[in-house]
Symmetry: C2
Subunit: 311 residues, 2 copies
């Protein structure tokens, strides 16, 4: 595998800046392209804000190495001489195609282009590409510098070398790359979050519990275990000495009975009102100005905790 030293980031919003902070913290050079006037300032502020968290997770310089960051409004200029492209543009297919048309001529034919898209497929993004075999989806969770998961989804043309290079690259940055074997709506993680969310909406819509109580139940109940283990492993432990097979034999029918009773809500105007009003009630007991910071602080502490626990 080619040594990856310089990365082009296309799109300098929340996700692009978070990736930039991560890459810079690991000694990589970053060339960031964004068409907006404020992009350079905004990106630098976000990188600066991310730095203390990154410093708690690994041994990095005291301040961001600004010399290793080049910001331009020109995609071709950002791509010149880079070994890997992290595309973070808006999730609209026409925009992605226009970005690729500018990027590809400035890149070597085998340089991977990894899209951070949450809703598009690599096959769609690559459909007019010059070299579709080097295009894949590499979808992070927000914020990418603190949440390790990166979902890798190949398109129909993506070659194995591109996948291997991307997998090794993210792993070298202490990310957790996961190979998603089929292109499906929501990739993998957002299918799971949507499944949970559907019932979280249904419970409120049916009047079983309030928005606040649904949220408190998750964060003080099953969410604690999900930070440590996925659902299959949790039920394996729930099966005692007999493990997962014993769990499925004894309690599989209970699961199926619950599945049959789950709701299928719509996000119609009335439901949206109920949810928004419920959320406003919930915010009364919280400090909204501190929530994002508290979450990010806690995500850093959680990463350290999991490392110690070996989970």
């Amino acid at each position: 595998m080619t040594q990856i030293r310089t990365i082009a980031i296309l799109g300098g919003g929340l996700i692009g800046a978070s990736w930039a902070a991560l890459f810079l913290s690991r000694g990589l050079a970053v060339r960031l392209a964004d068409p907006s006037e404020n992009a350079a300032n905004d990106a630098r502020q976000r990188i600066q804000a991310a730095w203390p968290h990154l410093a708690q997770l690994s041994d990095i310089p005291d301040a961001p190495p600004w010399d290793a960051l080049f910001i331009t409004q020109d995609i071709a200029e950002a791509c010149a001489g880079t070994d890997f492209v992290q595309e973070c543009g808006p999730d609209r297919l026409a925009v992605k195609h226009a970005m690729l048309a500018k990027a590809e001529p400035a890149l070597a034919p085998t340089t991977p282009i990894a899209s951070s898209t949450s809703s598009l497929m690599a096959s769609e993004i690559a459909q007019d590409a010059q070299y579709p075999q080097r295009i894949l989806v590499a979808h992070p969770m927000n914020p990418p510098h603190l949440v390790p998961l990166v979902e890798l989804v190949p398109g129909s043309a993506t070659d194995q070398q591109t996948l291997d290079t991307a997998f090794d690259f993210y792993q070298s940055l202490d990310r957790v790359p996961i190979l998603v074997k089929k292109e499906r709506r929501g990739h993998l993680a957002n299918r799971l979050t949507s499944a949970l969310y559907r019932e979280a909406v249904n419970i409120v819509a049916e009047g079983i519990a309030s928005v606040e109580d649904v949220d408190r139940a998750i964060a003080n109940g099953p969410g604690l275990r999900w930070a440590l283990m996925g659902p299959h492993l949790i039920y394996h432990l729930g099966g005692g000495a007999g493990g997962y097979r014993a769990y499925l034999d004894h309690l599989g029918p209970t699961q199926e009975a619950r599945w049959a009773d789950l709701g299928a809500p719509r996000l119609d105007a009335a439901t949206v009102e109920t949810l928004v009003q419920g959320l406003e009630e919930e915010l009364k007991n919280l400090d909204p100005t501190r929530l994002t910071q508290a979450r990010d602080d806690a995500l850093v502490a959680l990463a350290k905790l999991k490392k110690q626990a070996g989970l």
Copy 2:
């Protein structure tokens, strides 16, 4: 509210012993009934094992106050003179009814009987009761001494005083009691876990990703956030300055499109084989003998972390 000083625990298995450890750690007296010969020894071992974890979370005696624990095979004897009953028997209605028939004559008419049941309803459990108004569901997540959520679900006959007493009691023990307003299969939390699990099974059954990768995705992705916040609040933050309404306006349609694409798997023999084999692959990269201990250690650390973060 009557001061609760002495609690009867009916059923000394995993859940009963975990409740006992929690109650003893807070200076309460416990009278535990279990028909099996080994129950007393097993319960004492489990309480002993839970103690170091409880000691990390609050200021408690160096060793369990064994004098405050009375163990008997007789339900009526366990109930005598108690202020609150935590029922932890098998989840079979006939068994619950038989237990209540022995318990009620030994209790004052207003003493709450809280069932730890995960699958039965308070209305069913109370149907032949002498005083159905003091019966409710108080369902914990495993292990109850480390996971704070307690779901309170009234039956059709449960009175407000019983609910209030139970709510205040669990809150006084630093639990997070949640009021579930309707009796539904799975109460609240297990409806949410089942919704997530359904898609976790579907993703494996459809060949989108392996059992191990589904578990790793959760525990390194969305699970990290769910330990800190519920899904409604997470999407509120995802809406930026416009909050939850902006999220729902802009991305509600994306959620509905994902909901429409989620799977409806069956836990048939072939799927069970696929899941069990996948879990066996996952275990090769883990130390199965340490998993429960690692989980419990991490849950303790997580509880401390959340307290510090104010989440």
